[in-house]
């Protein structure tokens, strides 16, 4: 696997280039589109002279390329991400940090739940291969996978909040509260099928190994064979892939879950910033999300290479 180190290095070296292209594209697209933060906040009836003055103060009247040059100089020389137009006098890391923390906690919960349901389901399906239970449990979770998060969330609200009155219909008040249940369920249900299928495939592979036969020959009961010998050897690759995939899935799911339930995370924040043309916040969030996304994808690809040598031979990454 000597090519592997080179592969990782090449992919990581590609990250700065990607970020450069993304920063330019985002910068250009956001500023080129009509409307700017000053016009959003100054409203419909405004003093044209004051409007022009504020635009000039923020340098928004310069050509876009020049603005980009100024921005990149500040970013590269001083690590300055610019200032938020909506939250004046606060730096972007200051504004963004609490949002990231909310999303990360939510994602962690969803990740744990996906893992707790997905792996046992996959192992169970593999052990039951040949009976109707195998396709049945996998199909159930495949069905959940087919429902977009934006459908799952209101359905769960309908069931648990509107009809049963068990859970609050939205909001966020800390890690240990009932308001975490609906978003966690919504974010994890879609990912379980993928995890379960992967766990099923690796378990099937492991079941054929010699050491499993040895374990059985030793007279160990089936529960010990599966629990201690098979699961341990098939779970590690699944875990690695799962971490990457869940980052990818959670990023996209967060946009809907947070918007629908009013959870103050990165997703809702990004959405509001796009609506409010808060250029610097959009750019910083996009760069952050892209970095997370690139690293997550790299982890997934590496995990797939370790699991399946055919991927390496086909000479490219395979996105799930």
């Amino acid at each position: 696997m000597e090519g592997l180190a080179g592969y990782i290095l090449r992919r990581l070296l590609f990250l700065p280039l990607t970020l450069l292209v993304v920063s330019f594209a985002t910068f250009y697209i956001t500023r080129w589109g009509p409307g700017d933060p000053i016009s959003v906040y100054s409203g419909q009836y405004r003093d044209p002279e004051a409007f022009a003055r504020v635009r000039h103060k923020y340098g928004l009247d310069k050509p876009i390329i020049e603005q980009y040059g100024i921005y990149m100089k500040g970013l590269l020389l001083h690590g300055d991400l610019g200032e938020s137009y909506r939250y004046r006098d606060r730096t972007i890391p200051e504004v963004l940090r609490p949002k990231i923390w909310v999303s990360v906690r939510l994602g962690l919960y969803a990740f744990i739940l996906t893992f707790l349901i997905g792996i046992p389901t996959g192992v169970f399906a593999a052990v039951k291969q040949g009976s109707w239970l195998d396709p049945f449990v996998i199909s159930v979770f495949l069905f959940f996978q087919s429902i977009p998060v934006l459908v799952t969330v209101p359905m769960l609200v309908l069931l648990f909040a509107a009809k049963l009155h068990w859970l609050p219909a939205g909001g966020f008040d800390g890690l240990f509260s009932t308001s975490m249940i609906i978003p966690t369920l919504a974010l994890s249900l879609g990912g379980i099928a993928g995890v379960a299928r992967l766990a099923r495939a690796t378990t099937l592979g492991t079941l054929g190994e010699d050491f499993v036969r040895t374990a059985r020959a030793k007279g160990l009961d089936e529960f010990t064979v599966i629990g201690r010998h098979v699961v341990r050897n098939s779970v590690v690759p699944v875990m690695t892939t799962l971490i990457g995939l869940s980052v990818v899935g959670l990023l996209e799911g967060a946009l809907f879950t947070e918007t629908l339930l009013g959870i103050p995370g990165v997703g809702l924040f990004l959405y509001e910033s796009v609506k409010g043309r808060d250029y610097n916040v959009i750019l910083a969030s996009v760069l952050l999300v892209t970095t997370a996304f690139v690293i997550a994808n790299l982890v997934v690809d590496l995990a797939l290479i370790v699991i399946d040598p055919r991927v390496r031979d086909s000479g490219g990454s395979v996105r799930a």
Binding site: G33, L142, P148, V274, S285, T290
Partner: protein, 333 residues
């Protein structure tokens, strides 16, 4: 995931279908047709095809199928429950829920069909074959561009692009509509469809192009291509007559795998308010109308109907994609 060991046995002609395979080879049936024939023997696949066919027919002929127009209001019947005149009830503005869902299907049909065709067939085939066959600088440029696109977080970027470009886009589309002398281009929502389809294609082609390229790279060194070149075949002929039929199965598989994602993306964008604009219906808009707490409590059908449509449609797409994958890659890989 199918086990590779079994297909090796199949290649050696040791499986039960050996004779059948030979018979088909004798009739020189193409790989694609043979695989499709095998697909039709899978019950789940056939059910999916039927469901998708019904969905597409209803969506494509929405004008004839829907009992009311999508924006036909009857404010006296705001939030009326299911009745004889309105089998699934009406929404806040007294618009027929069934009709709006049928027209929403039209949005999905147009967007998925256009995006699959351009972003999952035309673009990947063209760019993948160009890169794989020409190699060198062209190949590097295409692949690096693809790598950057693939490393972007898709949905947030789609939201960003559609949200900020909208007013400029609408302005262009007015010019296009004037040029086409077709006012319906905008009033029927085709300008929105076009924007969504364009950005989805922009982000969609990478996976397919990678597959096509790697296949072309393998095939271009194979003996039958050398033979074709020796007998004086032009590059175009080699690409379209000799290479294309061999990569067709993979294109079908990757395109069908993309369908569910495309449909979900359009629904998501519209849900966030940056996709298809009102009054044009889309499942995203219908779900966003049905999701508020008060509507949910008193008229859950406004959420349940589009939710059921969306879930069953994407489920059918995904199952069909799986089935196609099984059928094609068990031999083609």
């Amino acid at each position: 995931m199918s086990t590779p060991h079994m297909s090796q046995g199949g290649q050696l002609g040791l499986d039960a279908g050996h004779q059948e395979a030979e018979w088909r080879m004798a009739r020189a049936e193409s790989l694609t047709r043979r695989s499709l024939r095998r697909l039709l023997r899978k019950r789940i696949a056939v059910i999916c095809i039927v469901v998708i066919a019904i969905f597409y027919t209803v969506g494509a002929f929405a004008n004839f199928v829907a009992p009311y127009g999508y924006s036909k209001q009857n404010l006296d019947l705001s939030f009326s429950g299911p009745s004889l005149h309105h089998p699934l009830g009406t929404d806040r503005n007294g618009r027929d829920t069934l009709s709006r869902n049928i027209y929403a299907a039209r949005t999905t049909v147009v967007v998925t069909a256009a995006t699959v065709l351009s972003g999952f067939v035309l673009l990947p085939v063209t760019l993948g074959m160009l890169g794989g066959y020409r190699r060198g600088f062209v190949d590097a440029a295409i692949m690096r561009a693809g790598e950057i696109l693939a490393s972007l977080p898709g949905l947030p970027m789609l939201v960003l692009i559609t949200a900020t470009l909208r007013p400029r886009w609408d302005h262009w589309m007015e010019h296009v509509a004037n040029g086409l002398h077709w006012g319906g281009f905008i009033t029927e929502g085709f300008a929105d469809y076009f924007l969504i389809f364009a950005v989805l294609s922009l982000f969609g082609w990478v996976g397919g192009a990678r597959i096509v390229r790697s296949q072309v790279l393998t095939l271009r060194n194979s003996e039958f291509i050398t033979a074709a070149r020796a007998s004086g075949a032009t590059t175009a002929r080699i690409l379209f007559q000799h290479i294309l039929p061999n990569i067709m199965p993979l294109i079908i598989v990757s395109a069908s795998a993309g369908l569910g994602g495309i449909a979900a993306s359009e629904i998501g964008l519209t849900f966030l308010g940056v996709g298809v604009q009102p009054p044009h219906p889309s499942f995203g808009a219908l779900i966003s109308d049905g999701a508020p707490r008060t509507v949910l409590e008193h008229h859950p059908e406004l959420l349940l109907v589009p939710a059921a449509f969306v879930a069953s449609m994407i489920f059918a797409f995904n199952l069909l994609g799986d089935a196609l994958n099984d059928v094609f890659t068990s031999r083609a890989a």
